[in-house]
């Protein structure tokens, strides 16, 4: 009888401890919103950089979230319908000792991502520019993918 009560109390204490550990985790990740916009955080299951793809009648616009990259270390390539974004984010502060850090949340490293495009693209006319930490790629549709306006004749 005595043993059983102790066991329950111990389990209760353990549960509290786990709850406390997860509370901190929840606050910083789920509610802080950092994971939604992070770039290379822990090289986890997601592909980086994160992208947004929009379309209008002339082409596709792609935005890739990649702050803190030297544009020289960024490459964009297309083969068929596959767009490849590759690059490397260098650690800005390789000389700083580990013990000098108060916080280290910004990751660094190499990345590569292949994106399958939904429409045929005119590869000659692709343009890409990097501003304010976002890579903007404009992908004009190839002629056959553009909507063709058919005039209706009135007879």
């Amino acid at each position: 009888m005595m043993l059983a009560r102790d066991l329950f109390r111990e389990m209760d204490a353990l549960r509290h401890e786990i709850d406390r550990a997860f509370q901190d985790f929840d606050k910083s990740w789920a509610h802080g919103g950092r994971s939604r916009i992070g770039f290379l955080p822990g090289r986890s299951a997601r592909s980086y950089p994160l992208i947004n793809l929009t379309e209008d009648e002339n082409g596709l616009m792609l935005e890739a979230l990649a702050p803190g990259i030297d544009p020289e270390n960024l490459s964009v390539a297309i083969q068929g319908n596959t767009l490849t974004i590759a690059g490397e984010k260098k650690a800005v502060h390789p000389d700083v000792k580990v013990e000098a850090f108060h916080r280290n949340e910004r990751a660094a490293g190499r990345f590569v991502r292949n994106i399958e495009l939904p429409v045929p693209i005119d590869a000659e006319k692709i343009s890409a520019d990097y501003r304010q930490g976002i890579l903007h790629i404009t992908l004009p549709k190839s002629v056959e993918a553009k909507p063709k306006r058919i005039e209706v004749n009135v007879v």
Binding site: K27, G33, I51, L53, P67, A100, R106
Partner: protein, 132 residues
């Protein structure tokens, strides 16, 4: 701004990490690196899509606030979305060792670099050992 301020109960050695908001607007917490050397404290924050005009960095009552609004860039119809930018907001409690004067801020490639110099008293003094 009052409703978004860090509660004054935080202890100086535990920087304010989360901020409660009462506004409808969503806020994002920018990831940061903070490190120090003998002379200064450096803060790096990822603020993609933010131009200089929409960045607000201030120090009030020992609280460093970084607030930034990314430029809206939504033309065309959305096909696929993985990220959504919103106002960036983050606060840190500063200790007395950081000087209020001479804080240097630079925004480049979506990364904000803040250099906060230490006050003279907080810098390490080298004491020469004389051999007699």
């Amino acid at each position: 701004m009052a409703e978004k301020s860090v509660a004054s109960t935080v202890t100086p050695d535990a920087p304010a990490r989360y901020e409660e908001t009462r506004q409808e607007e969503r806020f994002l917490t920018p990831p940061v690196d903070i490190f120090e050397n003998e002379n200064e404290l450096t803060v790096l924050a990822d603020l993609p899509g933010v131009s200089k005009e929409n960045l607000n960095v201030r120090v009030e009552d020992n609280i460093l606030t970084i607030e930034a609004k990314p430029d809206k860039n939504g033309k065309g119809d959305s096909l696929y979305r993985e990220f959504e930018l919103a106002t960036f907001y983050r606060q840190f409690q500063l200790t007395e060792t950081v000087s209020r004067e001479g804080i240097d801020a630079e925004l480049k490639s979506g990364v904000l670099t803040l250099r906060l110099p230490k006050v003279e008293e907080a810098k390490p003094k080298l004491i020469e050992v004389k051999v007699s």
